[in-house]
């Protein structure tokens, strides 16, 4: 059975000058049948999948490399997740961390767009046990 409704996050990178309010107003001007909720990190939109895809494509044009999106499992205002209803937000810590990291990926997208040369970054190594022991000894002596 085709899905009748889709909910999506649109997350604004911290480096963007666009505000959630601007996105909300922009979507309102499109005059489409869609539900919008402003949040601190962007907006949540909900509607028929085709309408959501159309809106998302237009919103992305506002700031392509600083607006990110993913599907959300729960509908807008669901009592099991809505803070107004004392719902829990187990995924919020992840969303917060990814939001903080978005400028890094913005730099990556710009580089990919400009076909910039990317040097192979050496793989990070784990701290050897001997090194950890040395640090522990140093700290214990202080």
């Amino acid at each position: 059975m085709p899905k009748t409704s889709e909910t999506r996050y649109i997350v604004i990178a911290p480096t963007s000058s666009i505000t959630p309010d601007q996105i909300t107003r922009f979507i309102h001007t499109m005059a489409v049948d869609i539900q919008i909720k402003e949040t601190c990190f962007g907006v949540i939109i909900q509607g028929q999948p085709e309408v959501v895809a159309k809106v998302l494509a237009e919103v992305r044009k506002l700031d392509p490399n600083r607006l990110f999106s993913k599907v959300r499992g729960f509908p807008i205002g669901d009592a099991r997740r809505c803070r107004a209803e004392h719902g829990s937000r187990p995924g919020f810590t992840q969303l917060e961390k990814e939001w903080k990291d978005l400028p890094m990926f913005e730099a990556g997208l710009e580089c990919a767009e400009n076909k910039g040369k990317v040097c192979e970054v050496p793989k990070r190594k784990k701290l050897p046990v001997s090194e950890l022991k040395k640090i522990c000894d140093e700290v214990c002596q202080q």
Partner: protein
């Protein structure tokens, strides 16, 4: 093509896969059907009998129920996947996606399917992120 992502609820990977023209397979999509389904009395706190059966397809009966329950969601997505991207050492691999044994099983199931696979480390700075995005772009463009 349908691309399975690990962490399966990552905003960044979901966006990159979609941006470069493919369909990401994520747990948010799979769960949205579950949490809005009328069949479950108190979604998502309960599982149905069918979920248990689905989980048994991917892990034995001796495997802890938490892993089986997670695999009941991840398993069908892995079956459906035509390619996969793993981002290792993501700093937010805790909470609902933080079951280390499930994550090991997921990686094993993906590798057993022998589909195109890209393995990356979560970047810590701009230079690493540039390399990650370039690799993801090259991988996804190569799938077409």
């Amino acid at each position: 093509m349908k691309v399975f992502i690990v962490p399966p609820n990552s905003l960044i990977l979901f966006d990159l896969v979609e941006r470069f023209g493919h369909k990401p397979l994520s747990i948010m999509g799979a769960l949205s059907e579950k949490v809005t389904s009328k069949e479950i009395e108190s979604p998502p706190l309960n599982v149905t009998v069918d979920d248990v059966k689905k989980g048994l397809k991917y892990a034995g009966i001796e495997v802890p129920s938490g892993i089986r329950g997670r695999l009941a969601i991840y398993g069908p997505l892995i079956d459906e996947a035509e390619a996969a991207i793993f981002m290792e050492d993501a700093p937010y691999m805790f909470g609902c996606v933080g079951c280390a044994r499930t994550n090991e099983m997921v990686k094993l199931l993906v590798r057993k399917r022998k589909i195109p696979l890209l393995e990356l480390d979560y970047p810590a700075n701009d230079e690493e992120a540039k390399a990650v995005v370039q690799k993801v772009k090259a991988f996804l463009e190569g799938l077409k």
